[in-house]
């Protein structure tokens, strides 16, 4: 009960932030009703997915300060579990997703145990390696379709709630929005939880945290598993939404880094950070790609600009957008 109460406890947030969050939520709720293009809708769905990925990453990477660049492997586990179970045994989304989640979390415990003996760069690069190993295995594993990936069959009978297949995008949008709210509540609960305080203590100074009796290794593994849960569920959703999954798409290093970038750009270790990051990066990438990606002779220009912008942000504002907000607030208090 304590956990549920914590999840709804927003008392420590400044009023201004809560007002903006409320307005944003109202906008999200009304968005499908407002006039919009189907491209804008697709971008919004991407935004919600990446916010959720980023929120998950933020639990271990932001609050815990452990730079994890291997989250794509769990997107893969979630997506493939749902896809394989649906193709082979007709298992509905609502049953395969918890199974995918359990598999992903189980796997995260297995590799989290050795991983968290490492720190800093060593940890970051090791997470990349684990993710790439899994991707390579999936690329040659015929059971999951190898490098070509899997195509999900159309089940008909739209709107099909069982297999999450809809003709109109707003069904997907509202399902994701539900997950988004749930995700936010869990993050809020985490902030107030024992584990949340332990992780922040570890981030500030691991040796001091240990001397206070915190089992740093075990706390990190638990937060890592919680972060994995977010990513795996959205992965399962991604499989149903996209109808087509392949290792290069959903298990690549680029996706892992992108997930982490949401939180980093917005402000790692703050609740709104990943959402701010996703609301900037996702539309930027998607509209840059739409504007420049399709033009003949300009292949790569969109990602070139994108890379340039990332460099600039990392160099000019390493603490993210939320870092600016905090700096302004600190100055005003003086």
């Amino acid at each position: 009960m304590e956990a549920v109460k914590n999840a709804f406890d927003f008392a420590d947030m400044p009023k201004s932030e809560l007002t903006i969050a409320g307005l944003g939520m109202a906008f999200l709720l009304l968005f499908p009703v407002l006039p919009h293009s189907s491209f804008a809708m697709a971008t919004m769905i991407q935004f919600l997915m990446f916010s959720l990925y980023g929120m998950g990453w933020n639990l271990i990477g932001g609050y815990g300060g452990q730079v994890d660049l291997g989250k794509a492997q769990y997107v893969g586990i979630g997506a493939y579990t749902t896809a394989v179970m649906m193709i082979r045994w007709d298992v509905p989304f609502w049953i395969s997703t918890p199974i995918g989640l359990a598999l992903a979390v189980g796997w995260s415990f297995i590799i989290g145990y050795p991983l968290f003996r490492l720190k800093g760069h060593y940890f970051a690069i090791a997470t990349i390696a684990t993710s790439l190993v899994l991707k390579d295995l999936f690329e040659v594993w015929d059971f999951v379709g190898g490098a070509r990936g899997l195509e999900l069959p159309l089940k008909g009978d739209f709107p099909n709630w069982l297999y999450l297949q809809f003709r109109e995008d707003y069904y997907y949008f509202y399902i994701l929005l539900g997950l988004f709210v749930l995700g936010l509540l869990v993050v809020n609960g985490f902030r107030h939880s024992r584990l949340g305080y332990q992780l922040r203590a570890i981030k500030d100074n691991e040796d001091v945290a240990k001397s206070l009796g915190i089992d740093a290794h075990w706390s990190k593994i638990k937060a890592y598993a919680l972060a994995t849960a977010y990513v795996a569920v959205v992965g399962s959703f991604h499989a149903c939404y996209n109808f087509n999954i392949e290792p290069e798409d959903i298990m690549s290093l680029d996706l892992s880094v992108l997930i982490a970038m949401m939180a980093m750009l917005g402000g790692a270790g703050s609740m709104w950070g990943p959402i701010i990051g996703a609301s900037i990066l996702v539309p930027m990438k998607s509209y840059l790609g739409d504007w420049l990606g399709g033009q003949a002779g300009l292949a790569g220009l969109d990602l070139l600009l994108y890379g340039g912008i990332i460099m600039f942000i990392a160099a000019a504002q390493p603490r993210g957008v939320y870092g600016i907000v905090e700096a302004v607030r600190a100055r005003r208090r003086k």
């Binding site: 990477g61 730079v67 660049l69 050795p114 991983l115 003996r117 490492l118 800093g120 760069h121 060593y122 970051a124 690069i125 090791a126 990349i128 390696a129 684990t130 790439l132 190993v133 390579d136 295995l137 040659v140 290093l253 880094v257 982490a260 970038m261 980093m264 790692a268 300009l298 292949a299 790569g300 220009l301 969109d302 990602l303 070139l304 994108y306 890379g307 340039g308 912008i309 990332i310 460099m311 600039f312 942000i313 990392a314 160099a315 000019a316 390493p318 603490r319």
Partner: protein, 308 residues
Amino acid sequence: MEDLGIQVLKSVVSGLLMGLVFALVALGLTVIFGVMDIVNFAHGEFLMIGMYTTLLTSPLLGIDPVLTLPLAGLVGAALGVLSYYGLIRFLLRGPMIAQLFGTFGLMLFLRNLALLTMGSEPRILHKGWLVGKSFIVGPGVVLESTKLAAAVLSIVSFALVWWLINRTKVGRALTATSLDAEGARYMGISTQKMNALAWAVGGASVAIAGGLLVNFWPVEPGVGLLFTMIAFATVALGGFGSVRGAFVAGVLIGLIVNIPPIWDAMLRMIDAAGLADLQIHSFKYTMVYAIYFLIMVIKPQGLFGWKQ
């Protein structure tokens, strides 16, 4: 059984040659890491640019690809210095995560710059002193002159860098900075200059490796990532910051990558139905990642590492 013997010999030879090139690729990464604790995601992209430099300047200047290597080195060094003063200098002020993303942005930038200007089709050198020639060393063992030259020249480059670091005044200053940047600064060694030097040496050595590689490995804008990961694995195995470690580990990784063909040969000999379909050789780079992971967990300081 003779077949297997030849297979083993072949694998060991090609593994050694490839390993020496891997070592040179990793050298730049380990020098940079040793001096300033920063991981460069764009390392493979430097290699790609070295490959394109040799590929494009050789017909343009009308000289043999081998002679363009110093030019590739210069381009790499310039790129390294430019990256340092334009980007890395600012990243060093931020937390580690900003450094990772900054170099990741650099990687995206360079890769797509190549895509924009060079197109996506893979290209390779078709003529030159080395291309297409080979020596037959023993029964079934053929040495391609491209790979042999790449291996020899990478030893030469290694020796040059080793000499620079261990036998020159500026090299000692570099070592001093990597051991204790603050202490070195009190002695009048500019950290900024030493960092830039590390990036110059790192960029030059990896670009030369690219110039050697393009003789037998096709270049395309996305070629870098595989080599970045191999370089990470090599540096981890050898120990972050250790030049000697990069050399030994590069050769070891070259051998590891070339072991799977031996298994394939064994499987063919057994010829058990189904087993031969396993295609173990398609796992060769997976093994590199897996070994990287194991080393990091079991012995994070690597074989010769001194930074931890």
